[in-house]
Structure formats: structure tokens, C-alpha cells
């Protein structure tokens, strides 16, 4: 009876505030350890940081034996909408985990994608050069005069 009463009281007074606190603390931890944008994740960090996901960039480079080719993911999205959706890109730039970047890199390199990146990779391979895709997320910073980009995590190298 006492247990039931306590449980009901907790449900009515403490459960939802505790849920808010737990989600917010989780968000703070993820922002500081896994590169989550402070604007998302339920931690009430909107309008507190320049680092909003819309202002982030994920650089994509194909490194082969002799040169490095850069690709714009926004262009890849526009040219191959079936390969990389806006939702996937938004999720990756908001929460750029190593696993997520790896998955996206594999997708970009898969031959079925028929993207420019995959084509260049296949051409290099035919020439006997095993190239790799390097993905890196960047955030915007401002020092009062200039805007610049700063890496969020170390680059992730992907091979099919």
C-alpha cells in the first residue's frame, strides 16, 4: 500500500521533471563527448552556441595514390537524392559519430550508388590504387572579427 502510494506520488510529481533532467544531462554529455550539436537533443542549448547543425560542414575527400579529390556532400545530395537524403545528412552533421560517418562513407563508395565518388574509386582500383574516403565534421567558430571552421572529431577513413 505504501509502495503503491509512493509510486503514484512519484508519477504525479517527480516522473516527468526527472525525465526532462535525464534527457538534458544526456544531451550535455553527448555534446561534450560525441560531437552532438548543442541545438538539438533536448538539453535546452538552443540559442546558446554558434555550433548549430545547419552551420556545420562535413568535408569529403577521396585520397588515392597520387592526389586528393574533394567532394561537396550538398552537391552529392542534389545529384543523387536516392544515395544521400537530406535527413541522413542532417542527422550525420548534427550527431557525427564515427559509426555514422563510416556508414555514410561506405554508402558513398558502394558501386551500386553510381556516384562520382564511387566511379573515381573504381577507376583508381582498376589502375591498381586502393584509394580511401576521408570524412570529417567541422563546426563554425567566431572570434569577434572572423568566422572559421574547427574540426569536431578526427577524420574518419573509409574503404568499401
Amino acid at each position: 500500500m505504501i509502495l503503491k502510494y509512493s509510486l503514484l506520488k512519484f508519477l504525479k510529481t517527480g516522473a516527468v521533471p526527472l525525465l526532462l533532467t535525464t534527457v538534458a544531462l544526456r544531451q550535455i554529455i553527448l555534446v561534450h563527448t560525441a560531437g552532438l550539436s548543442p541545438w538539438h537533443g533536448g538539453g535546452f542549448g538552443m540559442f546558446a552556441s554558434i555550433d548549430r547543425d545547419e552551420r556545420r560542414v562535413v568535408t569529403t575527400q577521396l585520397i588515392d595514390c597520387s592526389q586528393t579529390s574533394s567532394f561537396l556532400l550538398t552537391k552529392v545530395m542534389a545529384d543523387y537524392p536516392g544515395l544521400l537524403s537530406q535527413d541522413t545528412y542532417t542527422h550525420i552533421s548534427t550527431f557525427p559519430t564515427e559509426a555514422g560517418l563510416h556508414r555514410m562513407g561506405k554508402k558513398l563508395l558502394s558501386l551500386e550508388s553510381q556516384s562520382l565518388i564511387a566511379e573515381l574509386y573504381a577507376t583508381n582500383r582498376e589502375k591498381g590504387c586502393d584509394s580511401k574516403l576521408k570524412l570529417q565534421p567541422w563546426r563554425l567558430v567566431y572570434d569577434g572579427e572572423s568566422i572559421a571552421y574547427k574540426p569536431i572529431t578526427a577524420p574518419v577513413e573509409v574503404q568499401p
Binding site: I28, S49, D87, T94, F95
Partner: protein, 298 residues
């Protein structure tokens, strides 16, 4: 005068007890309207349920309806957790509170208690973030936001002495930098010393008002401050959302404010501001847009 009397009579009619029913109905309206500007198909069940609750009013008192609504929102939150913004989480928490309230024998008390805590906690974390990020303490967040965010163009022109063409050039510089992924080439933005000072002052004002709202809602022991909590919240809503209109967040804060307030006079202010929100919130931006058209033709 007649109009004011009619308005007051209408508010009195809306606020007839039990007030918690009004709060549940208002929540249902907000649930139907919020997020329509960034529609996702996963929102369809919650919108249909909200519509049903509005059209068939006894549903608003049904615990199962609120439980189903809570479930819809929780699923949506879990699915899109990384792309949702603050107030979308707050909507989910509030619907869960509504579900618990209609199950309980004391719905008003449950709503009132949780509203106070949710407002207090959300402002506490918002204040905490201002310190964690560090970009508030040196004013750089607001400074850059004034320079790049078109919603703050009014503030940049009026307070910072910048002109619209400079702001457009700044935005162009950033957009080009981002679109070309030129991450290794810093770019200088045009600003004024006044803009930097104003940004710093407004940053500390924001920290102060958000911190005070958090403290006044959470610390009941500080009687004097706690008694002023509604004025602080109203002050925050009016000063912040007329500059950056975030209708969904402001509306939910008004609904939660309405149920936790004890004074009938302040309750009427909450309700009045909520009803008139589509008019007063975009008004300053609208006037600024009109002045731009008249004087600058842009």
C-alpha cells in the same frame, strides 16, 4: 471601452472552472498546430488525434486519449531525437503530464506542480548552457547571430548601427564559405564596435532573465522572488519572442504559466497574451519589414 469589456467578458467565459479543462483544450490546439512548418508524416497520428479531441470535446477528459497522444509524441521524439528542437521535447513532457493528470483525482494540482517544475527546469538548463558554451560570456554568440541571422536584422540595424546591405554581404560570405566547404580559409565579417557592445550587454541580460526565471520557479524558499515568477516569465516571453518569434515555445510557456498561477489577474494576462500571440509576436518584425520597404525599397 466596449471592446475591452467584451474582451474581458470573453476571457471570463473561457476561464470558467474547472480551469484545467481549458488548459487541456489549449494544449490540444497547440498540438494540432505546432510543427506544421516542418511537417513529417510521423506526425499524422498525433494531429488526427488532436483534431478528434477538439471536435469531440469529451475526449479531452479521456485518459486513454492522452496516453495515446503521449505515446505518439514519445515515438516521434525517439525517432527524430537528433533533429528536434527544445520545445518539441517540452511538448512531449507536457502531454505526459496531461496524461498523468487526467488519470489522477487531482488533475489541476498535478498540472500546476509539473508546470512549475518544467518551466523552472527548462530555464535552468537554458541558463546552464549559456555558461557551458562560453560563447555567451564573451558575447560572440549573439554578435554572430546579429550578423548572420536575418530574423535579427532589425536588432542589428537599430542597436548595432549596421545597414542591411552589410548584413546581406555577411550572409553571402558565410553561405559561400559553407557551400564550398572552405574550412581552412577564415573569412572576416563586417561589424561595428557598437554591435559588439550591444551583443555583450544583451548576452548578460539573457543570462540574468533566464536565470531569474529558473530560480523563481524552482526555489520556493525565496518567497519574494517566487512571488514574482510570473512577471519574470512574462517579461522574458515579451522581450525575447518579439525579437526572435518562436511561436510554439512561447505558446506552451503561456499554457503552462496559466495553470500554475494563483492570481486570476495574471492568469488573464497569460491567456490574453496566448490568444493575441499571432498579432503581437510578429508585430515588431512586421513594422521593421514595412519600414525597410518604404525607406530602402528592399
Amino acid at each position: 471601452m466596449k471592446l475591452v469589456n467584451q474582451w474581458n467578458a470573453w476571457l471570463s467565459h473561457l476561464m470558467q472552472p474547472p480551469i484545467y479543462i481549458l488548459v487541456l483544450r489549449l494544449t490540444t490546439i497547440l498540438l494540432l498546430l505546432h510543427g506544421v512548418d516542418h511537417w513529417r508524416w510521423t506526425m499524422l497520428p498525433e494531429k488526427l488525434l488532436a483534431l478528434a479531441m477538439l471536435l469531440y470535446s469529451p475526449l479531452v477528459r479521456q485518459p486513454w486519449a492522452w496516453l495515446a497522444m503521449g505515446l505518439c509524441l514519445v515515438v516521434n521524439n525517439l525517432w527524430h531525437w537528433s533533429s528536434l528542437v527544445n520545445h518539441e521535447y517540452l511538448y512531449t513532457y507536457w502531454v505526459l503530464v496531461c496524461a498523468i493528470a487526467v488519470w489522477s483525482r487531482t488533475p489541476k494540482q498535478v498540472l500546476r506542480w509539473n508546470a512549475r517544475w518544467l518551466i523552472g527546469l527548462c530555464f535552468l538548463f537554458a541558463t546552464l548552457w549559456k555558461f557551458l558554451g562560453g560563447e555567451y560570456l564573451d558575447g560572440s554568440f549573439l554578435h554572430l547571430t546579429f550578423l548572420l541571422d536575418s530574423r535579427l536584422a532589425m536588432g542589428a540595424v537599430l542597436f548595432g548601427g549596421l545597414d542591411l546591405s552589410t548584413l546581406a554581404e555577411n550572409r553571402q560570405i558565410f553561405e559561400t564559405m559553407q557551400a564550398s566547404a572552405a574550412v581552412l580559409d577564415p573569412q572576416q565579417l563586417a561589424s561595428t564596435p557598437r554591435m559588439a557592445v550591444v551583443s555583450l550587454v544583451l548576452s548578460y541580460w539573457t543570462i540574468l532573465i533566464e536565470g531569474l526565471v529558473a530560480a523563481s520557479f524552482l526555489l520556493t524558499e525565496l518567497r519574494w522572488l517566487h512571488n514574482k515568477r510570473d512577471w519574470l516569465l512574462l517579461g522574458f516571453v515579451i522581450t525575447t519572442y518579439t525579437v526572435i518569434p518562436v511561436l510554439g515555445f512561447a505558446a506552451l510557456l503561456m499554457v503552462m504559466g496559466l495553470i500554475q498561477v494563483k492570481s486570476n489577474f495574471i492568469a488573464r494576462i497569460y491567456l490574453g497574451l496566448l490568444i493575441l500571440m499571432p498579432i503581437w509576436m510578429p508585430l515588431p518584425q512586421g513594422i521593421f519589414w514595412l519600414l525597410q520597404k518604404i525607406f530602402f525599397g528592399s
